[in-house]
């Protein structure tokens, strides 16, 4: 597949069309109907959560949040393929993949409500926290890949970055190191057409992002990222490459960020309604839904019902997060080093003395 879809040939890999019809059965990944249905539900859950979060945010109940809206098939396919033993190195729009690894929605809520505790991932292993400094996480993926190869383990790393992220030096260094070291990392570029307000054509003059793989001597492919099956199939093939010790793979997943960059962004400033409508036709959930409805695996009624259930579940976890215990003063010091140095103990002590003083002072003032 990587030969035929060598990015130099300028082909985008697709399996289903905008109506959810399979273009060529040979291209279909190996997956049961049952698993497809589960994947669809998971993607729908992610979308439901996403939309709900945006409304929480409008109510001032959560801070800045970067939605996944419109990009769910990429995480959705990753969720199918990623295993317990594998590593997930997210950027910040991979909710579906994170949930699949065992991160809870509540934990994500905690993070975006302003608790580091949300990054602890109590029930999930081998997931890095979301990474804010663009593209920097890619190098971690390469390093983890080195450990896997070094210890001859049968693991894989799935690492994410945005189209904007491909402009950073760290993108270059990460894929380049991975190419030299031939490590089992699947790099997935979520090309959602924008880095905040900046369109991809202003990030690079390159013909595609997938074609950048050539600069590193690694396999690359451009995939319709709104096509769940295409994503899954590409990931399957990438997995084989990694398992064969042929090194990393660079996947450009072409998609569209249907929502705002974050809840504090206004996309109407930099894109048109026409463009949004054009992309709406390629919506990944619509396409997959059409597929499962055609196959009689799903119905509008089921969908309506399940969305209601999902909403309740999202709400439940949200309220749990809202009732999270207060952030304690010692927690800002406690995790800085493996053992707290005297200097930090002194600083913590000073803070607590201040709090004692303040309490006294404020109660005095109130008495007055």
């Amino acid at each position: 597949m990587f030969k035929e879809y060598n990015p130099i040939n300028k082909l985008m890999f697709q399996v289903i069309d905008n109506q959810g019809k399979v273009i060529d059965n040979k291209l279909m990944p190996k997956i049961t109907d049952e698993r497809v249905l589960k994947a669809y539900k998971d993607m729908l859950f992610a979308r439901t959560a996403d939309l709900q979060i945006v409304s929480y945010q409008r109510q001032g109940r959560i801070y800045t949040y970067p939605p996944n809206y419109g990009q769910e098939a990429i995480s959705g396919a990753t969720a199918v393929i990623i295993e317990e033993k594998d590593w997930l190195v997210p950027a910040f729009r991979e909710m579906g993949a994170m949930l699949a690894k065992g991160v809870t929605l509540k934990e994500l809520f905690l993070l975006f409500m302003g608790y580091e505790d949300g990054n602890e991932y109590k029930n999930a292993n081998k997931v890095l926290p979301i990474s804010v400094p663009i593209a920097s996480q890619m190098l971690h993926a390469t390093g983890i890949g080195y450990e896997i190869k070094y210890n001859k383990k049968k693991e894989l790393v799935y690492a994410f970055v945005g189209d904007g992220g491909t402009s950073e030096g760290d993108f270059h260094e990460a894929v380049n190191f991975a190419g030299v070291w031939k490590v089992p990392v699947v790099f997935i570029i979520q090309n959602n057409q924008y880095g905040i307000s900046t369109p991809t054509r202003m990030q690079t003059a390159s013909e595609s992002l997938a074609i950048k793989s050539i600069a590193y001597g690694v396999k690359g492919i451009q995939v319709d990222g709104n096509d769940f099956f295409a994503m899954l199939r590409a990931l399957e093939e990438a997995k084989k490459v990694c398992e064969n010790g042929e090194g990393p793979v660079l996947i450009e997943a072409v998609t569209y960020r249907k929502g705002a960059h974050t809840t504090s962004d206004d996309p109407t400033k930099y894109r048109t309604k026409e463009e949004e409508e054009e992309w709406d036709k390629k919506d990944p959930l619509k396409r997959l839904k059409q597929y499962i409805i055609n196959k009689k695996l799903w119905s509008e009624e089921e969908e309506e019902k399940i969305i209601e259930d999902f909403k309740k579940e999202v709400d439940r976890q949200f309220i749990e997060a809202e009732n999270y215990p207060e952030y304690k003063a010692e927690d800002i010091f406690k995790y800085m080093y493996s053992e707290m140095p005297q200097e930090l103990k002194d600083q913590e002590h000073r803070l607590k003395e201040f709090y004692r003083w303040k309490e006294e002072r404020v109660s005095q003032t109130i008495k007055k």
Partner: protein
């Protein structure tokens, strides 16, 4: 005079310089079409065109590095780092080139450029969006580091910075981007860089601070005043070089010094100012210069940030301690 907040004042300064000097160009991530994530560069692309105000690819080293080249060739780039926490990829270009090109070439090449960036906490932001790393930059020879605390200063200092032939890091206290409104002189005016500003005269204790913390100090001063404590407040404005003279004069008068800064404590601005005070006014000191600063920890996420931040009470606490010393 016109009522402006700091965002407006900075925008006005850019507008004036873009209008006046064809060599001025403004670029960075999302500063063009979008007008900046804080709207600081709003409307400037429309007004001056996309070759003068434009979006760059997402790469901080690239932004600073190309600005260095432009400035060597004669332009006066004003670039934006989207947040202080995202300037680190550009550190090599700043430390190895922007701050050195003049010295390296014995004055033949210059890099007149301004690196603007919002800094500081208190806005309920994600990780990396709340940092105040003035001390890192203050330690880099060849760089000038400045930070305004009012719309008026923001405008005048930025115009001066753009006109300077040095490389200037211009730190914008985003917490008070829109919080303070003020009458600001219309049209062009400049403020001499490197000069601190005595905002309030006082006699018991000198407080040196800058940027968004000035407002916190002022709140503390109200409470201190109730107790009859008279604070002299110095707005540093220039992190490097530091205005020794203003600090010396004040500390000689009050005999007591507190610094209030947002960044981590160790190797921070506070220690440098204390050192200046002891170098300049040791025999006048009646108490050890104290620092109210961040702790040596990562700025906590919003729910924990109040533990970290220097608020009016923390400042008052130190004021009371130092006058009783």
């Amino acid at each position: 005079m016109k009522i402006m907040n700091m965002v407006g004042a900075i925008n006005d300064a850019l507008d004036i310089k873009l209008n006046e000097d064809k060599n001025v160009v403004v670029f960075g991530e999302d500063v063009g079409v979008e007008g900046g994530v804080f709207r600081v560069t709003e409307n400037l692309q429309k007004k001056y065109g996309a070759d003068r105000v434009f979006d760059s690819p997402l790469a901080e080293s690239g932004i600073v590095g190309t600005a260095i080249g432009m400035s060597i060739a004669g332009l006066r780039p004003v670039v934006e780092m989207q947040f202080c926490g995202f300037i680190y990829p550009a550190m090599n270009q700043i430390i190895s080139h922007a701050s050195r090109m003049r010295n390296r070439s014995r004055g033949k090449l210059e890099t007149p450029m301004v690196i603007r960036m919002p800094y500081g906490g208190g806005i309920n932001a994600l990780e990396h969006h709340s940092e105040s790393m003035e001390a890192l930059f203050g330690h880099i020879p060849g760089l000038k580091v400045i930070a305004p605390s009012t719309p008026h200063d923001a405008k005048g200092m930025l115009i001066s910075a753009i006109e300077s032939n040095d490389t200037i890091l211009y730190m914008e206290p985003k917490r008070i981007y829109r919080a303070i409104k003020q009458e600001v002189q219309e049209g062009k005016f400049t403020i001499e860089l490197g000069k601190a500003n005595v905002l309030t005269q006082g006699k018991d204790v000198t407080i040196v601070s800058f940027g968004a913390m000035i407002r916190e100090v002022q709140k503390a001063m109200v409470m201190a005043k109730e107790q009859g404590i008279s604070v002299e407040l110095i707005d540093l404005r220039s992190i490097y070089p530091i205005d020794r003279e203003t600090i010396r004069n004040s500390v000689k008068k009050t005999g007591r010094l507190i610094t209030v800064t947002e960044g981590p404590q160790s190797f921070g601005l506070g220690a440098e100012i204390s050192q200046i005070a002891i170098e300049e006014a040791f025999l006048h000191l009646e108490a050890p210069p104290a620092r109210v600063s961040g702790y040596d920890v990562i700025v906590p996420l919003p729910k924990g940030e109040h533990h970290y931040m220097q608020d009016a009470y923390k400042i008052l606490y130190e004021i009371e301690k130092i006058v009783k010393y």
